[in-house]
Subunit: 328 residues, 2 copies
DNA sequence: ATGAAAGCGCTAACAT
DNA sequence: ATGTTAGCGCTTTCAT
């Protein structure tokens, strides 16, 4: 004790106004000298705030988890946590059964001030559960539910830009490899592709649309399937699938970009080192993670209403795989 | 209330023996019906156990964090946490300054029952700090400190196997791209390489040893450097660096495995889809994460002494890049 | 501006 | 085998 009551120490730590500056300074000195840190459990119990948020990654994302997308996202969220002196807890579901534990183990124990949920499918039961529990939460990406706060990239605009770019380069048979159709990012990127063609008086040919699931293997399979219809360009809805597509193209002896131009989506850390370096739509993954946290914090502190709906811009990053570099 | 005191409820929840079976059943029924979950903060405060462990990833690993190695590891740790009803908190350091917060923010607040630390450098100050704080912790990998519990792959044996394999295939000028020399995995893999050559009466040529830092870019640079000395094989100390090495080889117009055989280390999820598919040393990354957690749990429950030192076996996975497949 | 005291929801030691 | 009670270390009224 530094000559004051524990109540005063508490006021100092929590920056309450009613403390004489000189007392405050003295207490702070003692804190620094002794290396005192308040016990987190006691604060949580007394104050009803844990300063812990959860990052929930559903089972559907399990196979995607080694994709560099998630590390980037985690970097963003942890960085924001760091800045605001929050702790991040990770909930990674390995099987569908695990998700049943979400409500009991995670939500009802009141350890979390809020939750960030990522990579949901359309109408994800996880989201319904969260909604029912009235815990503050924000989605990264959308699940199609109205009145849910989210941070998302402008998937449709990004896909539109990518496809327009290929049209502008004079490509005639522009195919696409989509994401999963039970995922709104997958759907929106396909919409962007369709709209870009439509706005230039072309109709999307169904044979030039192949579905993937955001994995590299699915990109490979989808590209092989498209080959039969001789595309001269392909917009791939994720960079990871683009890796697979490039492999399929190489195996078939086709040159990129001369025979087939390729544009991806994501701009992952290694996309610039693909062979050839990948032209792609950059989405600010790390920033999305940071903004998701900050939005969540705002909700925790100022209430759930109205739902925050944040859409982040994307940009076209031109490298070699689209053939534009060769022209200029 | 189900007709009993809170103490009895507590006994039921914590599986204390002294409860009549019929009372226990009744209480459990009520718990199930009401969906009651004990408040985690109160339990922690009263019981001195939080059932939360931390996973600490130092700043030195920041640039490596998008490597699929970390997701695998995280999958292992979260899976084990799931099974034992623990929660995982992630501490990812973005800058050296952040690490200063480890002790104050993380260790002294007593939120964590224990900590798993990964990817340390030799003599990492982080480890010294943990040691000083007497919190239970285990390393994934080693930092060279004696009397510290760790789980590690048998890096030296793995590298020895890889190099021996290349020798057996008749390669004469076997180079290596190493990991960083301030990292014990890097050092041990180099030792394995040297020993394999020595045991077959060869001397490692210093010109055929190029240093990398486990990033793809460093693998590319190191391979370019080695090219001047005309290796006919190269053991690359990580699959991610092998991607870079393969790129350098392709750019130089060399064929893999005909001109240069390549063997990697890790067996990351995508290593089988490289061009050509990569022969590599598989280390059980996910399992290392699980075992690290279980070892930590053992330490938390049964004390720090003696330090657990666990070394996991590796295995050679033969694919196309080493040229063995072509021979058989 | 500060201190005293109640209480957050549990666990554990002590009675019975 | 079960209930009673005293904390765990804070925050937050309520006095002063």
């Amino acid at each position: 004790m530094a000559g004051v009551s524990s109540a005063t120490v508490s006021r100092v730590i929590n920056n309450h106004p009613n403390v004489r500056p000189e007392v405050r300074a003295r207490v702070q000195r003692i804190i620094a000298e002794t290396g005192y840190q308040p016990n987190a459990a006691a604060r949580t119990l007394a104050g009803q705030r844990s300063r812990i948020v959860g990052l929930v990654i559903p089972q559907t994302a399990h196979i995607l988890f080694t994709d560099p997308y998630f590390p980037r996202l985690i970097q963003g969220v942890t960085h924001a946590c760091q800045v605001h002196d929050f702790t991040l807890s990770l909930f990674l579901f390995h099987a569908v059964e695990d998700e049943a534990k979400l409500s009991t183990r995670i939500l009802k124990r009141q350890i979390l001030d809020g939750v960030i949920v990522t990579a949901t499918q359309i109408g994800d039961p996880l989201v319904r559960e969260m909604l029912a529990s009235d815990i503050p939460f924000v989605l990264i990406g959308q699940d199609g539910t109205e009145a849910v706060s989210f941070v998302d990239a402008d998937n449709e605009a990004g896909a539109y830009t990518a496809t327009s770019h290929l049209i502008r380069l004079g490509r005639k048979r522009i195919a696409t490899i989509t994401g999963p159709m039970n995922n709104l990012a997958g759907v929106n990127r396909l919409n962007g592709y369709r709209n870009a063609l439509r706005d230039r008086g072309r109709r999307a040919e169904e044979r030039l649309i192949a579905h993937g699931d955001f994995t590299e293997a699915s990109g490979y399979a989808a590209m092989q399937q498209l080959l039969a219809h001789h595309p001269d360009a392909v917009f791939v809805a994720s960079d990871t699938m683009a890796v697979g597509a490039l492999r399929a193209l190489h195996s078939a002896g086709l040159r990129v970009p001369q025979d087939v131009a390729v544009v991806g989506f994501d701009d992952l850390p290694h996309s610039g080192t693909f062979n050839p370096p990948l032209t792609t739509i950059r989405q600010p993954i790390k920033r999305a993670g940071m903004i998701a946290f900050e939005t969540l914090l705002d909700i925790v502190e100022h209430g759930l209403e109205p739902p925050r709906r944040i859409i982040l811009p994307t940009e076209l990053v031109i490298r070699q795989s689209c053939g534009a570099a060769a022209l200029s």
